[in-house]
């Protein structure tokens, strides 16, 4: 039974957390190795960025192939979000592709870049993160501080704090006194009921007193 109490809030937090993790920008420090354009069938998930007035069964997707400093591959797609969700208002995927291509480097003479992106890489669902921005990094070990995410979460925290504080105020000033009054009225009622039942125990119920009136005077119980 206790499980149900924390099950619902936990699920809510997990859903909200994963939604934010997908939608908020992240930065990767990688080396660009190449770029691609592939024709992809429109899937139900990450083609929500297809413009609404077009219904297509396939579309072209630009890819930016990169590797991490340790050599593991990291592939981004590079698509416009246009006006739809997430609200990155990204229209410059063409320009971004050109920038990425100009930063292609080899392992011998690496050029490290910071790729701002959102989304997840899930190979089994063919999901790729969407690259939003590329810039040169100062080196393979530059410290990347996610200012946007910090500001976002601090604001969210402040808003939740203010709302929570207001709701607690409402509860304290209006709900609790009413509940106290109800509890008090209930206690008074219980007290009166107990006193009445005590009296009945002493004198006997009305029915048994009436029965008594039918007994002979010397056989009466009261």
């Amino acid at each position: 039974m206790q499980i149900i109490k924390w099950l619902f809030p936990s699920i809510l937090i997990i859903l909200l957390g994963s939604f934010l993790h997908y939608t908020l920008p992240g930065k990767d420090l990688v080396r660009v190795v190449g770029s691609d354009v592939k024709r992809v069938d429109t899937s139900t998930f990450w083609d929500s960025e297809v413009p609404k007035n077009e219904t297509r069964s396939t579309r072209d997707v630009r890819f930016i192939n990169t590797v991490w400093p340790d050599g593991t591959p990291r592939v981004f797609r590079n698509e416009d979000t246009d006006w739809s969700w997430p609200p990155y208002l990204k229209f410059d995927s063409g320009n971004l592709q050109a920038e990425a291509q100009s930063l292609i480097s080899t392992e011998a003479a690496p050029v490290w870049v910071v790729v701002t992106h959102y989304g997840w890489r899930i190979p089994i669902l063919t999901l790729f993160p969407n690259a939003v921005d590329i810039r040169r990094a100062t080196g393979p070990d530059e410290l990347l501080i996610p200012w946007f995410n910090i500001f976002f979460f601090v604001s969210l925290g402040i808003v939740f704090f203010l709302i929570g504080r207001f709701l607690l105020r409402l509860k304290r000033r209006h709900l609790d006194p009413t509940l106290d009054e109800v509890a008090e009225a209930f206690d008074d009622f219980t007290e009166a009921a107990e006193a009445a039942s005590q009296r009945t125990r002493e004198t006997g119920s009305k029915f048994s007193r009436w029965l008594d009136t039918w007994r002979a005077k010397d056989k009466r119980k009261k």
């Binding site: 200012w147 946007f148 976002f152 402040i158 000033r173």
Partner: protein, 89 residues
Amino acid sequence: MLLWVFRLVIIFAILSVVYIALSRYYRWDKKKELENRFKAAARDESEKETFIAEGMVGYDRSLKKRLLLGVFALPLFIIFGLLFIANFM
């Protein structure tokens, strides 16, 4: 582009509703507090109106009432802060 103006207007409308509701609530709450203080002090009934009116004037000038405008200011600050960080940093 027009779509974003439209959205901004909707946000502003919602914030206005929130502001009006909160403003009314806090005024009502302050009035109740003044009434209770009046009853506790057990003063003359004829002085009640003036006492409450004076109390409300004090509230109108208070910081608390002006802070309520933060209902507009905070979301705007957050939105423009995010836009600034996303585009100029």
